[in-house]
Symmetry: C2
Subunit: 401 residues, 2 copies
């Protein structure tokens, strides 16, 4: 293969990052395409390209399902963002989002052999995003939505999932929710508690908070025993709320508590922070004995794990430098691998619960208070998740023939 | 890397093509993604993904041009089709088009180390296609439009090229035109003729016919000495024509000849067939002595090369099993490589002419009547084309800083 130029060889003199090791690692991007067919002879060309390829095109024109057998579509996912809510950086736009989407793509490949293509869109209009992704869909076996801000992300995901015959999955919502459910199951196991016996406070009512709450309910936590807080305090039916928050206010908080995060945490068993805000030490001190704290904001947890550990029996964060890292990479590669393997048309609640159970089961082989989830690098995880998700898809009857 | 499932392993019993060698070669598709960064340790993850990646995102948010240094965008092209005019198969739609787009993508990689992503769109609406490609543009360094039917392709290309800061190139038009110009230059050289002295008939007024005609004029053929024919005969100002055909009728056919292809060919020096129709032997017999016939329809040339050789001094086709194969693969990989290397914002007429000259120059090292273009596999071609195109882009002042 000719190497005609080094990527990004221009203007290095103008780039203050040129020698920063992180930037050096990202230079020229983190991925490339390789051909899996030989292109060395005329015969090769006549098979991979014209005239041979026309036979394959004709066959797919007659039977469109063959696109899954004779193209890369069956093992390919688009990682789609509009750059509106990238990591904790906010609305930085499609170009600045690209390094994250490439990172996601290479994780898909490394952990589950899924070929993922980063697609960063130059529109933040809900209808525009839906139209573009709908138009792109024949090119991919699944759509991973990423870093799209709430509440827009809810409608975009719902409408695309309804419209498309392939799985659509907003990882910031469901990836996080799946790993949180897995971690909470194992935390409860360590403490010999039952999920339906726990009082849970979810701090944050954005994409992750909404999905975590719904996933916990689907996974066995009593809806009425959950209290969700946004920046103004607890969600309850007397507040004037719309959309996903109104829905959660109706489902959760059976006692109708109106108050602050500190009020909600008084006597609670579980704190799940997905807000990026700060939670004061005295609020954590007010929780029930033997409590569970997941402070997932990254890079700065809502409460520092050393502080939380003074009061809680089990502490988890999103950080790799503390025990119990709640990392989406435990979920999304295996979930898509399983959905693609099963030729699933959607990702059902059961498929997500199956993923959470599979993640929890891997950690259960060596369960301790400081080891409730597997390492992000544990190669068993994606395989176990893929198998469980594929099986659940078949059980739910959502597979294409 | 885990291999959790073989692509396309379902339902082989139902697939009548499962053992056809062409289908076997296409099974599971022809390409995959590979990571170019290590993802083995926690440290690796913290560089390629969070938290390290956030530094790169922040830098691009401040200076969007850095996306070309720190993502794969600078070496990546989208191969975009709506499946409306695929090879000679017609409007077979986006799914059936995918094997061709993958083929194109692997040729981009093999010949010019360009990472190309096939994008097959589920819309054939002109505005819809323009909107989708505009939205996708931040994800790619260039847009190769492919197999989009005429006359829609003209407007789509023109408007995207105006709207986007990256090169947009409809290969069915310009790739073909560049290689035809290269071939005609060398054919004229073999016969010791000058381009501005040749009477040329272009049979076919679709995407390729229009682009070939314009390219020949830009490359030195006298516009008035060209006659373009569509299925109703010669284009001339007395016909009621619109769009690109009306434009060509105004530029070409200085004698105002109204008639059939046979009438047009009488005494002509050059026949360029890009129609897919049939041209009768007696029409070729009526051409001037020492004539040049390019019968480019694939897989069935407008006139069989053995028949054309009875009358013409030089014969070329689109087929690999006859001498003088006019193959777009001589042009598009090097043209995009050169445009990407130069960070060109568009592909100018001069860049295309430079590409044609570079292709002609490679063949000129061993020029014969049956060797007017290089072999499609000649590794010198893409390098020479890329260098010439990049230089022309700089000369034309169309490069981003």
């Amino acid at each position: 293969m000719p190497q005609m130029s080094e990527p990004g060889s221009h203007d290095e003199h103008a780039d203050p990052h040129a020698h920063d090791p992180i930037f050096v690692a990202h230079r020229g991007g983190k991925m490339q395409i390789v051909s899996t067919v030989s292109l060395k002879t005329r015969e090769d060309l006549s098979i991979a390209y014209t005239p041979g390829v026309a036979d394959v095109c004709r066959a797919i024109a007659v039977n469109p399902a063959l696109v899954e057998d004779y193209t890369w579509v069956s093992h390919t996912v688009a990682v789609v963002t509009d750059g509106s809510a990238v990591l904790g950086l906010g609305n930085i736009g499609p170009r600045a989002a690209m390094p994250v989407m490439e990172g996601k793509a290479v994780l898909f490949k490394a952990f589950a052999n899924v070929d993922a293509v980063p697609i960063c869109l130059d529109t933040q209009d809900v209808e525009g995003i839906i139209d573009v992704v709908t138009a792109l869909a024949p090119s991919f076996g699944g759509i991973n939505l990423e870093d799209i801000s709430a509440p827009r992300c809810f409608e975009i995901e719902r409408r695309l999932d309804e419209a498309l015959p392939i799985p659509v999955f907003h990882d910031d919502q469901h990836g996080t929710a799946v790993v949180v459910l897995a971690a909470l199951r194992n935390a409860a196991r360590v403490l010999d508690r039952k999920l339906d016996d726990l009082r849970v406070v979810v701090v944050g009512a954005g994409a992750a908070g909404v999905a975590v709450t719904k996933m916990l309910i689907a996974g066995g936590v009593e809806a009425g025993q959950i209290i969700v807080c946004d920046s103004r305090g607890t969600l309850h039916p007397d507040r004037s709320l719309t959309g996903a928050k109104a829905e959660l206010a109706g489902l959760t908080n059976a006692s109708g508590l109106a108050g602050t995060v500190t009020d909600a945490l008084r006597g609670a068993d579980v704190l799940i922070g997905v807000s990026g805000g700060e939670i004061p030490e005295h609020a954590v001190a007010g929780m029930a004995p033997e409590s569970i704290v997941f402070a997932l904001a990254n890079p700065t947890p809502e409460v520092h794990p050393d502080v939380a550990s003074r009061y809680a029996a089990i502490v988890a964060t999103g950080r790799s430098d503390f025990p119990n890292q709640i990392n989406n990479v435990l979920a999304f590669p295996g979930i898509f691998r399983g959905a693609l393997d099963a030729r699933a048309t959607t990702i059902t609640e059961n498929m997500k619960i199956a993923a959470a159970e599979a993640i929890a089961a891997v950690a259960a082989t060596d369960l301790r208070a400081d080891s409730i989830v597997p390492s992000a690098l544990d190669p068993r995880v994606a395989k176990a998740v893929a198998a469980a998700v594929s099986e659940a898809a078949h059980r739910d009857g959502v597979c294409r023939p």
